[in-house]
Symmetry: C2
Subunit: 264 residues, 2 copies
């Protein structure tokens, strides 16, 4: 994972002991997770006159990770794609943080194609599943379904977390089943189990001198923690014994992490 | 104002009496209002290799309505603008409705330029005023301020409300001082003064047979109402005696509308 520029914060403290399990979602998984978390995005197309870049708000669904758009030919973006099928889609994860550049987002770029044959029904269903209001206009004659065949993926997870992803890795990855719905569970950990998070950070996260720990995010592999130490702040990670497959497993996984930390 | 395609709803009832004052914000004012309502948007640029469209999340401020971006040259969009300065910015009004295509949004297209001379400080201040977190990186050497010189504007207010706006009209218009902060006042009207809204719709809005009225939005010129009638639903408008200049004037303006409706 590369960093485009420095993270704008105090220089972080380094771990004093090994981090027990730092496994985290791959950039491809992160990209799929952002794409699966919402149904609105901004499309970039090229204008018919001059090939200028044209940004426009759209709704979308996903068919095996490929965005499915439903665009009117009377709207500029629909006309643009009829002339030049190159397109990209910027998707921002919902629940924007106070600092917008800390938001997770992804750009998917490729070629927009009309689905053919059996894919028509699947694409229509994928769009309607994500955008129920589209049932009103999806069959209007001026609306066309487009599938964006993703060729390039750029994921940005926030400050200092970003990477490019190949089309193959993007297609093969699965969205995280935990992150999108974990907000309340994370708030509960921070509000009622700060002592457990601190034990995790000290014993499993490599910061035996941590004085406070806050959970920023839960995903299928573990928890992102921010810790305070006398040496400065740091970010670390604690991983579950096994990857989770459904949101209902998060509670027992964090209880088990607490047990291991306290037995350690 | 043109409509790109039909509004997907029951066919509306027409007014039975004249609408007292149907003045509403111009498309240029609507576009300025959307742009002033947030600090995040999606930028469309052209890739250095091939001139493909590239959509990417950005933050922005406004300098006389022209978007001011602060982009890293290490990020793809920053590099793109160095090669080809054509760009457009899609901005969506916050508080997305349940049906995303009912959201107000605007596309501003033009040429991105680095501010020069006295404009540098003004552009820097405009960006920082909208994006306080940028104070951390605005002076990093890899970040560049860009001012998007707006040449084309496309505003979409939701279903059936859309128009193109000239660069001159956009530059000359002012954002609405009422709409962005009027959510609570509108909710209060609907929750506690439904009878007053109904009187307005019957006497001033052209629907003497209205059986219910809901306020969808307040702006400097008046209120957007949705009414139910035995003939079907309809949208109408009631205008204040004079345009408002600050949010504090909204309460007395709606009290006055109620008084006029009940005197009528």
């Amino acid at each position: 994972m590369s960093s485009d520029h420095g993270r704008p914060s105090r220089s972080p403290a380094t771990p004093l002991t090994s981090v027990a399990d730092a496994a985290r979602p791959s950039p491809a998984e992160e990209a799929r997770t952002v794409a699966a978390a919402t149904n609105t995005a901004t499309l970039a197309t090229l204008t018919g006159e001059g090939g200028d870049p044209w940004a426009s708000f759209v709704t979308f669904g996903l068919l095996d990770g490929q965005p499915v758009l439903c665009l009117s030919r009377m709207a500029e973006h629909g006309r643009n794609l009829e002339v030049d099928a190159r397109a990209s889609l910027a998707i921002v994860a919902p629940d924007m943080p106070a600092d917008p550049l800390a938001a997770a987002r992804v750009t998917l770029a490729g070629i927009a194609e009309r689905p053919q044959g059996e894919e028509v029904a699947a694409a229509r269903q994928a769009h309607l599943a994500a955008v129920p209001a589209a049932s009103i206009y999806v069959d209007f004659t001026d609306f066309t379904l487009w599938v964006l065949r993703v060729e390039r993926v750029r994921w940005v997870g926030g400050y200092g977390r970003m990477d490019s992803v190949t089309a193959e890795d993007y297609a093969a990855a699965a969205p995280d089943p935990i992150t999108p719905g974990a907000g309340r569970a994370v708030a509960h950990l921070n509000d009622d189990h700060a002592d457990a998070l601190l034990d995790m950070a000290r014993v499993l996260g490599g910061y035996p001198d941590a004085t406070a720990a806050v959970c920023d995010r839960a995903d299928r592999y573990g928890l992102d923690l921010r810790v305070e130490t006398p040496r400065g702040p740091a970010a670390t990670r604690v991983g579950y014994a096994a990857a989770l497959t459904s949101p209902g497993e998060l509670r027992s996984a964090t209880v088990e992490l607490t047990r291991i930390a306290r037995a350690g």
